[in-house]
């Protein structure tokens, strides 16, 4: 653990609570998946909580946050209601996206959590777009864009970093280097394994943080955001971390050894941070236990909320395909059927 000083006690406790909630939420989501309450893919962030909470803690409420398909934690850290995140996993109407996006596509506009994106590398250009809006409107909102080590090989990585630097956009790009893109290890997918230098040729300086340490992640992200916001200079931050679970739930993990996972689990960001808070007298054992029980209770409520939420009504299938107006009067007017009464339809 890096030897940065602890933040004020209430802040430290907030971070521990947030990391604990993510851990318990993810565990429960995995459980619900095996019980077929959750469909599709489910990518858990267990082991990556410090990277999420540290980075989000450095943001202002008006800053934009954008992430990948592994982003239940980002939504929770940004303040989205756990019940609505769980309901999205369950595909229910009270889900953050009314059951349209699922696990990979969380979104909470109110909290400027700008998604959850299923396409590896697809979110980088959007982040630059948010940065352009801030620049264009003369606001000092910044954008934080998280993506994986695997995504740093996409064309959008180079294209976006170049444009962000060229246009002096206030964006922090954070590559979450969890050592793997699915089952392909870093040294097998990237010729340059020191990812923080990958932006230099594009005019984007790099910083590195210990993504297993919430304080270091917060401190480095805060500095990167300051540079982006005040100096109008995009920054690439490499957060080194490790995911303790498989890439998604259906992953036999043949590409790595149990010993390696065990070795990293000794640096479990939740455990090490809580241990330090106890060692430095910020909390005691009983408080750690209480924080954990509170997180479990919150997740219990989230599951109950999601369970009670109705399935989307079939009549909502076409909602929000388009913004309706005089030009697009209903989904049908842009659909194949034409606006009038169709053959075989009765007058209502």
């Amino acid at each position: 653990m890096a030897d940065r000083p602890l933040p004020p006690p209430e802040t430290a406790i907030d971070w521990l609570k947030s990391m604990t909630l993510i851990r318990r939420f993810e565990e429960r989501a995995g459980e619900q998946y095996t019980r077929a309450k959750v469909g599709g893919f489910l990518h858990l962030a267990i082991g990556e909580e410090a990277t999420i909470v540290g980075a989000v803690a450095a943001l202002r409420p008006t800053d934009y946050m954008i992430a990948t398909y592994r982003s239940h934690g980002q939504a929770l850290a940004r303040g989205s209601e756990p019940g609505r995140v769980m309901a999205e996993l369950f595909g229910r109407v009270d889900g953050l996206c009314r059951g349209r996006g699922g696990s990979m596509h969380m979104f909470d506009l109110e909290r400027r959590f700008m998604g959850g994106f299923g396409i590896v590398g697809g979110n980088l250009p959007l982040a630059a777009g948010f940065g352009l809006t801030s620049d264009y409107l003369g606001s000092d909102d910044a954008t934080l864009c998280q993506f994986g080590d695997g995504a740093s090989n996409q064309g959008t990585f180079g294209e976006t970093l170049n444009l962000a630097a060229l246009w002096s956009l206030p964006v922090v790009f954070m590559v979450t280097n969890n050592q793997f893109g699915m089952g392909t290890s870093l040294e097998r997918h990237s010729a340059q394994t020191d990812l923080q230098v990958k932006g230099e040729g594009f005019g984007v300086p790099g910083l590195e943080c210990d993504g297993m340490d919430v304080i270091d992640t917060w401190a480095v992200t805060a500095e990167a955001l300051r540079i982006a916001r005040e100096e109008r200079q995009p920054v690439l931050v490499e957060a080194l971390n490790y995911r303790f679970r498989g890439h998604s739930i259906a992953d036999p993990e043949d590409y790595r050894s149990a010993e390696e996972v065990l070795e990293w689990s000794k640096r479990d960001p939740l455990v090490t941070f809580a241990d330090r808070l106890i060692a430095e007298g910020v909390i005691n054992e009983a408080q750690r236990e209480a924080i954990d029980l509170e997180a479990i209770a919150t997740v219990d409520e989230a599951v109950a909320f999601a369970d009670a939420s109705p399935e989307p009504d079939p009549s909502s299938l076409y909602d929000d395909v388009y913004v309706l107006s005089d030009q697009v009067r209903g989904w049908y007017s842009a659909d194949h059927r034409g606006a009038g009464l169709q053959k075989g339809e009765e007058l209502a």
Binding site: G95, D108, G122, A128, G129, L163, D320, V323, Q327
Partner: protein
């Protein structure tokens, strides 16, 4: 009314909308200093400055993605892709992002984005530079697709596209940029989406022309009247999403015959789609199978002699139309 070229009409639409709404901005390769590969944006940088008329690197996917991101957060980007051929590099941002973001996030945001680009063959540019892709974009729910074939429509539809809150694929045509037409100068002039234009009235057959093929269809119709006594009704749908199917069906109910003309490939084409809709909705009105005239089912060749027979001209439209009348009409002529 003023007479101007198609490219000037587009330029006027852009200038008026830039003037009207400070959040409208333009972005694309070589659009500012150079004035656009087809000179559509000429003079706009001098008038509106580099902040609003933005030259970009050659990074199609990311340019569209930046447009999407800025549209999600309050701006109204109008992107120029140099030609539709290069939009293939941006398909991920156009389909997975622009078209689906509103839906997949449960309606929390909209993406008021316009992607303008010209299409079409005829300049001996070979397979990579001669595509017509209206069918590709028509395929995608969440996108609106406009295919203006006249200067007035170019202006009126572009203004509507910029004002609409949905992502719009705005397909211009390379060979139309220099064509002149009468264009209203009223800054409030717009052409609504989902309203087909009847270019020529007739009772014998309905010919639907897409993009520049609306003009080819019109010329073929004149020849059909003069040489074969067939009065064709020519329809230009102007937008494919939303589609004015009602106007098409009304026309077919009157003429009982229909031919669809497009420049793109036959399989999964606009004509294939329209033919399916017309037979579903108007089967009883048809006296003959719906005819289709398309580009040939091959990449576009370079050699002029081959290229010219690889996309439709009046002759193919006339042949396809006559075929719908079988021997009866031809016999009556002979």
């Amino acid at each position: 009314m003023a007479e101007m070229r198609y490219r000037e009409a587009l330029n006027q639409a852009l200038a008026e909308e830039l003037e009207r709404d400070p959040n409208v901005y333009l972005m694309g390769q070589d659009i500012s200093v150079f004035g656009g590969a087809f000179k559509v944006t000429e003079g706009l940088m001098d008038r509106f400055g580099e902040k609003r008329i933005r030259d970009t690197p050659i990074s199609e996917n990311t340019i569209v993605g930046i447009g999407v991101g800025s549209a999600m957060t309050g701006l109204r980007p109008v992107i120029e892709l140099m030609t539709i051929n290069f939009s293939l590099l941006a398909l991920d941002q156009i389909i997975n992002h622009a078209a689906h973001i509103r839906y997949m996030f449960g309606g929390q945001v909209s993406v008021p984005l316009v992607v303008r680009m010209p299409q079409g063959a005829g300049h001996q540019l070979g397979p990579t530079h001669s595509h017509s892709f209206e069918a590709l974009y028509l395929h995608v729910p969440g996108l609106l697709v406009a295919v203006p074939s006249t200067a007035a429509d170019a202006k009126g539809l572009l203004k509507t596209a910029i004002r609409d809150d949905n992502p719009v694929i705005f397909i211009e045509h390379e060979t139309l940029y220099g064509q002149r037409g009468e264009v209203p100068d009223d800054p409030d002039f717009t052409v609504p989406f989902g309203l087909a234009a009847i270019r020529r009235e007739g009772n014998d057959v309905t010919i639907i022309g897409i993009s520049r093929m609306a003009q080819t269809a019109e010329r073929a119709a004149e020849q059909l009247a003069a040489e074969h006594g067939i009065e064709a009704e020519v329809i230009d749908p102007r937008t494919l999403r939303p589609l004015d199917l009602d106007t098409i069906l009304e026309s077919v109910a009157k003429t009982n015959r229909c031919v669809i003309v497009e420049e793109g490939w036959p399989h999964g084409g606009v004509g294939a789609n329209l033919a399916a809709l017309i037979q579903e909705q108007g089967f009883d009105d048809l006296d003959a199978p719906v005819g289709r005239v398309t580009g040939v089912d091959a990449p576009m060749p370079y050699a002029k002699s081959l290229e010219q027979i690889a996309f439709p001209h009046e002759e193919q439209v006339i042949d396809a139309t006559l075929a719908l009348f079988g021997d009866r009409k031809r016999a009556s002529r002979g």
